[in-house]
Amino acid sequence: MIPEFGYGVLAVSFFVALYSVGAAVYGAQKKSLAMIESARRAMLLLFPLITISAATLIYLLVNDHYEVSFVYEVTSRSMPTYLKVTAWWGGQAGSLVFWSWLLSAFASAVTIRKWERDIEFLPWVIVVASLTAAFFLGLTVFYENPFMRFWSMNGSVEPSMFPPAGATLFTPQDGRGLNPLLRHPGMVIHPPMLYLGFVSFVIPYAFAIAALITGRTDDRWIRLTRRWTLWAWLFLSFGLVLGGRWAYDVLGWGGYWGWDPVEIAAFMPWLTGTAFLHSVMIQEKRGLLKQWNMILIILTYALVIFGTFLTRSGVLSSVHAFAESAIGPLFFAFIGLTFISSIALLIWRWPLLRAETEMKSMLSREALFLLNNLLFMSVLVVCFWGVVSPLMSELFTNQKITLGPPFYERATAPLFAGLMLLMGIAPLSAWGHSTIQTLGRALWKSALVAAAVTAVAYFTYTSNLIALIGFFLIAFVVLVTAQEFWRGARARQSAQHENFFVALTRLMGRNRRRYGGYIIHISMMMMAIGILGIEIFQAETQNTLKQGESLTLENYTITYREIASWDNNGAGVNYTRAVIDVQENGVYLGKLTPRIDYYFDSQQNMTIPGQRSTMRDDLYVLLVDWQPASADGATFKVFVNPLVNWLWVGSFAFLAGVLFAAWPDKDPAEERSHTRQVAKQPSAAD
């Protein structure tokens, strides 16, 4: 009864979404405010409806209803309750419901706002949001239904929503359990973060489409969705970082990013989203690039849907898997249709989107932003081609191929270096015009100091050319950005006669977007230090040690002390944990305990490293299963990952930067009226 209820509510919400689309189109065509209002209410109804359906699913997950095939696939009795709840997005059917639920929440948040000024946008925003929701809900209702149950008939067991004639309900004793790799706290939060990012990007896209359809092509749609875009970008970025951290902690290959197609699928909308964040500034400041911004947000939306599809469906493994997957062709068709219609709309409105002004100089900030967009798009081309070409190869040559990290690293490294250089130059170029001389005057000091820093790195740390170029660019960007803070605060200090720190705080507070952006640039450079460190200077070794034997890598020596293995039947897992002593240059530093967790239900191993982390380097020790681990001997793989901690610390600075830029300002009108009121009333202190 409970699964039928959950399914029923899901089906109702699908039809409500369709109604909302129809009513909004009709209302816009007939200029009927009543119909538009009805569409809006239908869309607002989606959130409570999907919440009820999702709550039903969570109830089934938490209460071990293994007769439901989704519950059987992603949970088991040994899993703690919080993991049973988060198993909601641990499988495809549940994650599609999760996606729809987030979208309904965001769409509600958008439509609840006051619409007086932008009422013409409203029906079309509803159409886009509800159509997207209807697509995802339709997938769950017709193809990937999380409420299907097992039915037994003539000795065979089949999942089905409704009982086939003569079948009896089949309830397995226990579920298969969530993939142990997904039981890590990083993985519990990582998918929702990515999905939050994905889904938030639907909102700016909806407004862009509304702007195209209504022909209102000023930058109003951009201003209305600026914060959505920033939040979307924040969630997506943080989702990517969490995914990296998860890989570092759980996958046991000593790295954080393997250029896996699923990772790239989440990275691609980030690339177009980042380009979009930069290029909308040109439209706001200079009235240029209206057409390009439309292209970017349309691409981002298409890549968001593509990413959602790829991260869960596993279709990239082969074209056959794609053809056999029930939802593969549907996703393909939806992405194709929305993309083609969006582009058709854009072509229709192309003349209206002409630039209001002209570009004056190839070195102006807008020109440099364009170059930044070119570089982001180039990285996108490499990524997209890297994901798609193995499928092409299989299709045309019948040969499967792999495109591993070397392909991507070789192609993207110079592009990322170019982006870093632009990050250093663009903040000092002016909107409208700049020349080599003005830029040179602004930049030479920073470039000189960065060169000095690079020289120090050369004499004290490394002679690796790529690393030195990287260090130069990092130092350059940090110095230029710091100089921006310094000059801004000094200018305000002398103009307003304030103390330097007061001037700096007020300057930043009143220009949140710019200084938030600069904090993000600095945090990116911190992350770049970590990436350079692990990519260029990582050292590793592997050996089988007997108890008491040691292994040395760089300055570290590890000594194998003991090993223990025990079952935790409650959690359905066996732990094998080694204890090793760590010394650095002969000085005892402490113990590390790398371990292997073996999950009985899924018969899978999870390799948990022993880590010792400092800002200089990470010692990362894995107990690998090349040889069965025992008191006689165990195989250890040891990595020294220099500077990698900068990547994680940088990601927190990044978070701070985006929060600073996206934090809601007090409404200026409200602030003014408040000031007036205060001025009229005598202060309490008087």
Binding site: M377, F396, T402, P405, Q437, T438
Partner: protein, 163 residues
């Protein structure tokens, strides 16, 4: 006077024979020396598990990969080079075991298409930027005080707005 060797001819022959045996023995020892895990990993890292998607052979935990690593070890101990091992795996399991497809035939497209698209993008961008900029009057000389104090002017303009 001819200097006499301190050892006789027969002794010399014996030493030569010993040297020959020793040389043989050491080369045999070199061949049977078991390659270290690091030597195996250095090659396995550049190969991909033919079963699991996108997993390099050095970290793949499956039994099949374990056997493939042992195969690399035995091929190394037979004196096979890295390229020979790659070739062997490619012949056995297809191009997908390589980190990148070989640069031949259809696979050339994989390497050529991204730079071609990127270059085309760059050309389009440069042309449109030129078109935009040539429409306007020449940029004023950077030597003018206005250009020099551009930054301060910007700041002051913003400060005025904030007041």
């Amino acid at each position: 006077m001819k200097r006499q060797l301190p050892i006789s001819n027969s002794q010399l022959l014996f030493v030569a024979l010993l040297a020959l045996i020793f040389a043989n023995f050491t080369s045999a020892a070199a061949q049977t020396r078991v390659p270290t895990d690091d030597e195996v990993n250095a090659i396995a890292r550049k190969l991909y598990c033919p079963v699991c998607e996108s997993t390099p052979l050095d970290v793949c935990p499956t039994e099949a990969c374990h056997q493939w690593r042992e195969q690399i070890r035995s091929m190394l101990s037979e004196g096979k080079t890295e390229d020979e091992i790659f070739q062997y795996f490619e012949q056995q399991y297809g191009a997908r075991v390589l980190a990148e497809p070989p640069k031949k035939g259809f696979f050339w497209l994989i390497y050529l298409i991204p730079p071609v698209i990127i270059l085309a993008g760059a050309v389009i961008l440069l042309r449109s930027m030129k078109e935009w900029t040539t429409k306007t009057e020449p940029v004023e000389s950077s030597e003018t005080p206005a250009a020099q104090d551009d930054y301060l002017a910007r700041m002051e303009e913003e400060l005025k707005k904030q007041k």
